[in-house]
Symmetry: C2
């Protein structure tokens, strides 16, 4: 197969004709045609090389030869469904299990993060006999009907969206912009208490909670790092209500956070979810995914009497690819790389924050980093247009980055795990130049912010856009409770 | 990767430990370990060769070298999401579209039949602004929450299953065992009229129909071939109610029916669904799938304001594989093979019906054939245990076949499309021997049935298990209305 078969214009025209217009493309006014990729680099039809800072699906690097080889060899040999015994399936289940706490021992193999989260809801409902779900503000859990319902990130796009009666939305545990911030004495408890209040309200309506579901770190929601202890306390409330805790690792699992293999483990060894869902990076681009749960939940699901069959799920090719991805993560110490390069990248970005008024917050773990742009560090006015400008200018510099979050003002770093220090240098250098230009054009300066940071006592309370008074997070960014990771401490790198 | 890495017992033990117990295996008392496959043959760990009569997913033959090569080459080059332009995506969309009526011009690429059917429901609901769905008795449309609701085949497995208030179940258009049979003057109109009645009832409740969904030929439901004209008349009723017609081709598309590329086309050129969903055979085992609809439906979906993004859907590897599958179907004339070998197989089975009392009906199109086993040709008492016995005995003869339908008494043929006349000879020869033995053991004979068939005037009306009098379908099997395909004419081969 040749690398390019059509002129770019012909590709665009055919796409307009035959591909659903809801399927959006990056840089729609001047989209990129990518024809090849390797490691952390993508190549367009003219041979131009882009640095890829966004594709967390190409986890161990685009087109990793070990993964390609494992897939190709197994495709030649056998690809069939899981109604026949096959070693790849059971060896892969065993290997995945070994990365998780012991009680998470039973796997269901499916084809996508959406299928995984939908199955998680089915497991939770069957196990608990309850129906209602608590989800987080700005959460995204997938594109099938049952998940749009629990994904405020999606259903808020609908004109006239109505919340399903069985879905309850808790505040996002965002200590930068959320309801309880870094200056709060115990944001973890405060956010968990919001979940407790929801449970109480649900009970007064005679309804019952099947599950609390959360991405271990919110990605589309704005690269949000929940305060340590939040999941434990939520789990306590949820378990008391007879529900289960679902940790959605679709975006952030498989070593990306550097210190741990799974992002829920950032909360501490005392936290174990009842169900974990996986996705994107699991097959380095191959359509596959997995749900892992406890024996108790799995047995309750079976006792319903309904079989579970997934035509493609757990086929020998997918499992061979899954095994190869796990092998490469170990062989190339990609979790270690995420830790070190992530720390390096975060430090570079922290320095940019000291220099650029537009950078309100830098947060992240390993190679999952968010840079929140604001027009005003006190009011936290989202710098949405500026974030878009950064993305577009970076594209001109052959760097792929994206902006997300409810205000689309958070620059999202989630590159392939082979991302290097030099790559970090390059992207931060370009961001520095773009922000400098932008700030000059806007007449934005960093007047006293640095001073303020160093001398918080001089500062006054500011007024947010809703007119409420609140202490700016910067004011207290060195004063949080010991369990509260401060903004800079979010950088678990 | 070596072909076998564990002893069979170790594989079984690990599976019990780490794979969801709801995921059932074939022949659970003595499951088969398959390590390799080629064409229509599968090989176990001892090298024994099984003839595969059931894997419609391995559509162009297990591990077809052209498909493997296309997948492997593209995996080496690039595998990323559809937010970048890529020729494979648009060329594949164009090629798929060319197999369909012109008005079905817009594609959405997803990862499984379940994702496809769920998206079809979302499209239908957004386009119509309605919510309710009419589905068929014994239908199976997938495993995600929204589809369990519309799959009686699944939700009847649940103890205490409750029908969702927005789901309405119409009788399966089964002219052998259903409400209106081959002797009815116009079963197509009669079954369609049932749908019309449901619509009227739904309207009296103040509800509105978003869609009618049906497999073009019911597979799990018992290899049911709807009478010609049924879909047209249903579509008329549904359109009048403001709903759309969804044809689910997940099991039966891509030339399997022999005379046509799509099974809905068996209804005639005057029938065009509003949405078509694809799945299983589309990638010869690779996890991929597609929804195709009209420009109007696609534009209405976009106007909701919600983007549609599917991480793996339409990636360059999946599309390369999809293109290769289409190429092989043409190059090897597999649709033609389905037509000819299907006809040959059906004729062999028809002869068995003349010989074996247990065979109540033989029906099918191309390489999609059902043999319904009954204990009594007049009462149609399902021969469920006997069907299981046939399946188990065939396994001993190294032939893989399955039994399905609401009574699990329909032998289901849906082999890879490279199935040959010799393969058909072999399986039918073995079935002949097994049925002979079974009938001897049961003391079952074919007393006058053949005579009856040849001299229907001698026959009396019989009494079915509910005590109702009805004319046995055999009685009138040569007397249906011209639009009603008779049982033997169902063999559109």
């Amino acid at each position: 197969m040749s690398v390019e078969r059509l002129e770019k214009k012909a590709t665009i025209d055919l796409r307009k004709k035959h591909v659903g217009p809801s399927c959006k493309i990056f840089f729609s006014h001047d989209p990129i045609k990518i024809v090849q990729a390797k490691g952390q680099y993508m190549y367009d039809e003219t041979g131009q090389r882009y640095l890829d800072c966004i594709n967390n699906v190409a986890h161990v690097g685009h087109c990793h030869p070990d993964v390609v080889k494992a897939g190709a060899q197994q495709m030649e040999l056998l690809n069939t469904n899981s109604r026949f015994l096959h070693d790849n399936l059971v060896l892969y289940a065993q290997r995945l299990q070994a990365t998780l706490p012991d009680k998470l021992s039973v796997c269901y193999f499916v084809n996508s993060g959406s299928e995984a989260n939908d199955l998680a809801l089915r497991l939770a409902r069957q196990y608990t006999g309850h129906r209602d779900i608590i989800t987080l503000e700005n959460a995204y859990h997938g594109h099938v009907s049952s998940l749009i319902d629990i994904s405020p990130y999606k259903f808020h796009q609908l004109s006239g969206a109505e919340l399903s009666p069985f879905v309850h939305v808790a505040p996002s545990p965002d200590v930068y912009r959320g309801k309880y911030r870094a200056d709060h004495p115990d944001p973890a408890a405060a956010y968990a208490s919001e979940v407790k209040d929801i449970i109480a309200k649900v009970h007064t309506k005679g309804r019952k909670i099947a599950a609390f579901i959360a991405e271990s770190l919110q990605s589309c929601g704005g690269q949000v790092i929940p305060p340590v202890g939040y999941f434990q306390q939520v789990a306590e409330h949820i378990h008391k209500a007879g529900g289960v805790f679902i940790a959605d690792e679709v975006q952030v699992g498989f070593g990306r956070v550097g210190t741990n293999f799974w992002a829920f483990q950032l909360q501490g060894a005392d936290f174990v979810p009842d169900i974990v869902t996986m996705g994107k990076p699991i097959g380095n681009g191959h359509p596959m995914s997995c749900v892992v749960t406890t024996k108790e939940v799995a047995e309750a699901f079976m006792s319903s009497g309904m079989d579970y069959f997934n035509t493609f799920g757990g086929n020998p090719v997918s499992c061979a690819i899954g095994l190869a991805v796990l092998d490469v993560i170990v062989k190339e110490d990609l979790q270690g790389n995420a830790l070190h390069v992530g720390r390096y990248l975060a430090n570079l970005l922290e320095k940019q924050k000291e220099k650029h008024a537009l950078i309100g917050d830098v947060r992240g773990c390993g190679l999952f980093v968010g840079v929140e742009l604001v027009r005003d560090r006190l009011k936290l006015t989202p710098a949405t247009a500026e974030a878009q400008e950064v993305i577009y200018k970076l594209k001109e510099e052959l760097i792929l980055l994206s902006a997300d979050g409810p205000h689309r003002n958070v620059l999202k770093f989630k590159p392939p795990m082979c991302f290097t220090g030099e790559d970090a240098d390059l992207v931060v250098e370009k961001i520095d130049l773009i922000l400098t230009e932008l700030e000059e054009a806007l007449g934005l300066k960093l007047p006293n912010t640095v001073t303020i940071e160093n001398d918080s006592k001089k500062r006054k309370l500011s007024t947010d856009e809703n007119g409420d008074q609140y202490p700016n997070s910067l004011l207290h960014s060195r004063e949080g409770s010991p369990r509260v990771p401060q903004q800079t401490k979010h950088l678990k790198t």
